[in-house]
């Protein structure tokens, strides 16, 4: 009898446990009683909107709704953040663009709370990612070693690629250039042999929407320009922090870029033509070669189909450099300096981190990426597939998604499948082409300075960069000669504190990523 009852109790306890577990798995409820937290989430184009359908759905599922208190009367996220923090009133959750720099600056001062322990205890979904990709999460940490924000992780590898008017190649009887010498020949032919056939020598062989992209050409001479998706950034080579603009390949590259520029192979107005360069030069049948984003660049094959006869702008694999290396320096960075954190004045940190974790669960991630089931997408074999009406709407898909509150910069994990479904077939072909080789290089995810290193960087870096860019342009424009300047350039860089900044970067890097 006694034995039996014990058995019964054990059984009933087990049943209770398992049913409790089942409930926990089914429901994303964080709180029983509805809870409202305030949020500051700023982006150039929008601020957090409590009426977003995605936000409402999340509130229904979790029981937590966010009330928008973003200071939004500026397009600049930094400015919005500064206004918010200067007011002394911190919302419970702070997120959006420019979060890394600000939270990692004011977190150590006490404005935001460290999240790593909270995540470990209360946020299994985020924690799983943290375990799977430690380096990525390390890069989000502040100088004091704490994690102050749940980052926005991007998905997908390819950003920019090299594009060429392959119909021009056919017309001139040329082949896709496989190395730097062939590229030179092709561009010279674009310049001299009138591929657009209007009888005028008005072709602009190589053009770039962002003038910084012209520098990317130095990779053909084994130089580097940046280690991340930010221009002029540092890169890492064999565990050492380096800067491309002080490397040997860079010197040779600049010399040749100046030569190309002088010969008219590069857009003479590359520094001032601005963001409309691509649209203008392609639509007027003038531009031949560029380095730009896959999806948007490939889309001209559709939009210019009727306007420019025979128009074919195809991705080509990176031509080999002088030493035979094919490199695509740009790629999507796996982690953005965006996301959200919890402020010190938040009275519900545990609920908040659980709420943040919801967005990393399967259900939450789908909500953040695709919108609402039955409206924007349907589940087909467990995969979210956008509805036809949604994809065929005249408004671009990504704008439609932000309209409803999906794909906004909360701390979430992007799913590249959302993008593939509306990427143009030419872009997909290009991406496939790049996927066949191994052209991408490792990304430098940035370092978190301690106070002393930060002071060094603040003091010197801006002056150094100014000087680097100044010399760079003067070399391209041939107002001075890179060979003659080079030794003095290095001396000058050192004088401006370049080596001090490198040392500070290195010590921060070693601390953060381990030796």
């Amino acid at each position: 009898m006694h034995k039996l009852s014990l058995h019964t109790i054990a059984l009933s306890v087990a049943t209770l446990c398992s049913s409790g577990l089942a409930i926990a798995q089914e429901s994303a409820k964080v709180v029983d009683k509805p809870l409202t937290l305030t949020v500051h989430l700023h982006d150039k184009k929008f601020t957090y909107d409590s009426n977003w359908p995605v936000e409402k759905e999340a509130a229904r599922l979790t029981g937590i709704s966010l009330k928008d208190v973003t200071i939004g009367n500026t397009p600049d996220s930094n400015e919005a953040f500064n206004l918010m923090i200067a007011s002394g009133n911190l919302p419970d959750i702070v997120g959006g663009k420019a979060v890394k720099r600000n939270l990692n600056r004011y977190g150590p001062e006490g404005a935001f709370i460290p999240l790593q322990d909270l995540i470990k205890e209360h946020a299994p979904n985020i924690y799983a990612q943290m375990q799977a990709r430690p380096q990525v999460f390390n890069s989000a940490k502040a100088g004091d070693g704490n994690l102050y924000y749940v980052p926005y992780l991007t998905d997908g590898k390819y950003g920019r690629g090299y594009f060429m008017r392959t119909d021009w190649l056919d017309k001139l009887g040329l082949k896709v250039p496989q190395n730097i010498d062939e590229l030179y020949t092709v561009l010279t032919a674009f310049r001299n042999e009138d591929p657009n056939g209007n009888g005028k020598k008005d072709e602009i062989p190589a053009f770039f929407r962002n003038w910084q992209e012209v520098l990317r050409l130095v990779t053909f001479w084994d130089g580097r320009t940046s280690g991340s998706d930010t221009y002029h950034d540092f890169h890492v080579k064999d565990g050492k922090i380096k800067h491309g603009y002080a490397g040997a390949g860079y010197k040779l590259g600049m010399k040749n870029i100046a030569k190309w520029y002088k010969e008219g192979l590069i857009d003479p107005e590359v520094f001032t033509r601005g963001s409309r360069a691509r649209e203008f030069l392609l639509a007027n049948d003038l531009g031949g070669f560029t380095h730009d984003w896959f999806a948007s660049t490939a889309s001209y094959n559709d939009s210019l189909k009727d306007k420019v006869k025979g128009f074919k702008l195809e991705a080509i694999i990176p031509p080999a450099s002088i030493s035979g290396v094919r490199m695509e320096e740009h790629r999507r960075i796996p982690i953005k300096p965006e996301g959200w954190g919890i402020s010190y004045s938040n009275k519900h940190p545990i609920e908040s981190i659980k709420y943040m974790d919801f967005w990393w669960s399967e259900e939450g991630r789908r909500l953040a990426n695709f919108g609402i089931e039955g409206k924007q997408y349907n589940l087909v074999d467990g995969k979210a597939i956008f509805t036809k009406e949604f994809l065929e709407n005249a408004r671009p898909v990504n704008s439609q998604l932000t309209d409803i509150g999906a794909q906004v910069r909360r701390g979430f994990w992007q799913d590249y499948n959302y993008e593939i479904q509306w990427t143009n077939k030419f872009a997909l072909e290009g991406i496939k082409l790049y996927d066949q080789g191994d052209y991408l290089v490792d990304q430098f995810l940035g370092v978190a300075f301690n106070e002393k290193e930060q002071a060094t960087s603040d003091k010197y870096w801006s002056g150094i960069q100014t000087y680097m860019l100044e010399k760079q342009q003067s070399w391209v424009l041939a107002t001075s000669d890179v060979d003659a300047d080079w030794d003095n350039y290095l001396v000058q860089l050192d004088k401006l504190g370049f080596n001090k900044v490198l040392t500070a970067m290195q010590s921060a890097y070693d601390r953060q990523y381990g030796k």
Binding site: I85, G88, R101, R105, Y106, T272, G463, T466, L469, E470
Partner: protein, 308 residues
């Protein structure tokens, strides 16, 4: 003691008697206190390691460190030089233009023509700086710009004006004059309108021609206005058109185009180093103050006209 009491009661009586005047004065005084004197409290961040989160009072003092940082930097020194040169040219070429314009308008006799001409020269003032920069960029563009099309027509090579340091100053100052000369001339036109007509009538009787009247009557009569405008202008000498420079300059033209405010923008605001930016702004203000004092004193001695 009694003296002071007497004095205060006299002031109180005076205020009671003239309270309407003081009431009218009040908004201006309040404006000055709220928007100019209270913010001066924040000037101390130039001497502090400022954190927005900690606030002005709680941030630690660092003495003159930010000033050392600034003056150790060759780029800051270059920025000072460029600021002075740009302002100097601006004063030299930009200041006389509105006076010449005003004198010119004054000589028009047909009202319709005068009004049309005035409207035409006022107009650029109302265009936003961003648009102005856009206009400048397209006018000076090497491929489609009017200037270069003309140059090529005349047999010269086209010039990429906007990336050449030697062209930045003329373009910037020319643009400034084009945009503001017309509107600034209003002040001088108003001064000219205030000249006593009997002076011109008696000059006519004496057989003076228009040229002589302009030199002997109009100019001397508006001289006080000119001097006051000049002193104000000198006070603002370190404030060059920041937005226009930001929009027009390129790394390759930093050599001539980088001024204190653009330097502060890059160094200070983009990196959220408000303390450093405040130090540069403080330096700016001190120099401007000294310049105004000097200009005022010289003017007082030479022309007997002064701000105070």
């Amino acid at each position: 003691m009694q003296n002071i009491q007497q004095y205060t009661s006299r002031i109180m009586r005076h205020i009671r008697a003239e309270w309407q005047l003081y009431l009218l004065l009040a908004p201006t005084i309040i404006w000055f206190i709220v928007f100019l004197y209270v913010p001066m409290y924040g000037l101390q961040i130039a001497f502090k390691d400022y954190s927005i989160f900690k606030g002005v009072a709680a941030s630690p003092w660092v003495g003159l460190e930010h000033f050392y940082t600034l003056f150790e930097s060759e780029q800051f020194m270059r920025a000072i030089k460029n600021t002075l040169i740009l302002s100097g040219y601006n004063l030299l070429f930009g200041f006389p233009m509105p006076i010449i314009l005003a004198l010119g308008f004054n000589e028009f006799t047909k009202a319709f023509f005068k009004r049309t001409a005035q409207t035409v020269v006022y107009l650029p003032h109302f265009i936003s700086t961003v648009i102005i920069a856009g206009i400048v960029m397209s006018v000076f563009s090497p491929s489609v710009g009017v200037v270069n099309l003309l140059l090529v027509q005349m047999g010269f090579d086209s010039v990429y004006f906007l990336v050449q340091p030697e062209w930045f100053r003329p373009i910037f100052i020319g643009t400034g004059i084009w945009q503001e000369a017309g509107f600034t001339s209003i002040v001088f036109l108003a001064a000219i309108a205030g000249v006593n007509p009997s002076l011109y009538e008696s000059a006519l009787v004496d057989g003076a021609n228009r040229w002589q009247m302009m030199w002997r009557i109009t100019l001397p009569s508006i001289l006080p206005t000119i001097i006051i405008m000049l002193i104000i202008r000198i006070g603002n000498i370190l404030e060059v058109g920041f937005e226009l420079i930001i929009l027009l300059y390129q790394p390759s033209t930093y050599e001539t185009a980088d001024v204190i405010s653009t330097y502060v923008y890059r160094q200070g605001l983009q990196n959220a180093q408000y303390d450093l930016a405040a130090a540069a702004g403080f330096f700016n203000a001190v120099v401007a103050f000294v310049l105004v004092l000097t200009a005022n004193t010289i003017s007082k001695r030479v022309t007997k006209t002064s701000l105070w």
